[in-house]
């Protein structure tokens, strides 16, 4: 579904949320409580400008609305692949967005991410993946990189990568995979307002993803390795 349909299903209407190009922002009321929305649409490539635009909304929320929940709506094709953005320090702009979201969390704002269409690594590693928890619609997809580019970098053929993406949880882009690995906390299916209500109340404020990955069997080693480091002589 597109952002308009999503927002309407969640909040009854899309009034209060506006799109400027690929950029989404707005304020809504959910069960009597104001919430800040910020994110992207149109499978947006996230460059310096779009990272800063999202950061601006988060900073304004911290400054003006202490404790207000923030919902990150994610639909991205990943980082903008342009030399201009690299020259300008897109990694720094991404880190800035991530640190704004992280500060909001530490200041007591519940921050929840929702992948509602697609997400590629650079486009959401400093938004959805740095929220208290990241959720997804069942039909969403999360990828690290598009297969042609991945083939070039890994020297694995596109045929091999395509086959792996179908059969292997480490490569498959379906969000159920990410739930099993702990990267996504849960899928929002059916009653979206109920899912949001639960997320606002029950999202952890510490990073539980390695523990989730171990419990759910999708990422068996990470939590154990962390513990071994903590216990090492």
């Amino acid at each position: 579904m597109n952002w308009n349909q999503l927002v309407t299903r969640l909040f009854g209407s899309a009034d209060g949320v506006h799109a400027a190009g690929d950029f989404l922002a707005g304020d809504v009321t959910f069960e009597g409580q104001p919430i800040t929305l910020v994110g992207t649409t149109n499978h947006a490539p996230i460059g310096v400008a779009l990272a800063l635009a999202q950061a601006r909304v988060v900073l304004d929320t911290i400054a003006r609305h202490p404790g207000r929940p923030i919902l990150l709506l994610i639909d991205t094709q990943g980082q903008q692949l342009r030399r201009r953005d690299e020259t300008l320090g897109i990694n720094r702009a991404m880190a800035h967005l991530g640190m704004c979201i992280d500060l909001a969390r530490r200041r007591g704002h519940p921050v929840v991410g929702l992948v509602y269409d697609q997400a590629l690594s650079g486009g959401f590693i400093t938004s959805g993946l740095i929220a208290d928890a990241c959720y997804a619609l069942p039909e969403a997809e999360i990828r690290v990189m598009r297969i042609p580019a991945m083939a070039r970098v890994t020297k694995l053929s596109e045929e091999v990568l395509t086959a792996l993406s179908e059969s292997n949880p480490v490569f498959a882009p379906g969000v159920r995979n990410y739930v099993a690995m702990g990267g996504v906390r849960a899928l929002w299916d059916g009653d979206l307002p109920a899912a949001l209500r639960d997320a606002l109340v029950h999202s952890p404020t510490t990073d539980e993803r390695a523990r989730d990955g171990a419990d759910r069997g999708g990422r068996r080693l990470a939590a154990a390795v962390v513990q071994r480091v903590l216990d090492a002589a």
Binding site: L156, S157, E159, V160, A163, L164
Partner: protein, 111 residues
Amino acid sequence: MSDIPAGLETLDFSFSGGRPVGAFSPVLVGVVGSGNLEVMLEASAGDGCAVRVETSARGFGPIWQAVADDFFARHPIGGVRISINDMGATPAVVSLRLDQAVAELPQGAPS
């Protein structure tokens, strides 16, 4: 249909009659990169010299055997476990790393 790459090849060699090296902390030399390998030496029970190779360059068993034989002839050590992760190093580089590893043993290389 699916061309998922064939797995790594694992090769094992063992030698006896070497001079026991005694206890030592594990030694690691080299890096697993293209044309390179890492070699780890650990003290083991008994007097044997066991070598395990995991390599992405399949089908070179006889060459690995020759390199291992040549290595043990140069360094007849015992009570040692040698573990190798290889990404297509040449025999010369393999021999070099093995020699470098032995050089880091507390007693140096027994002759």
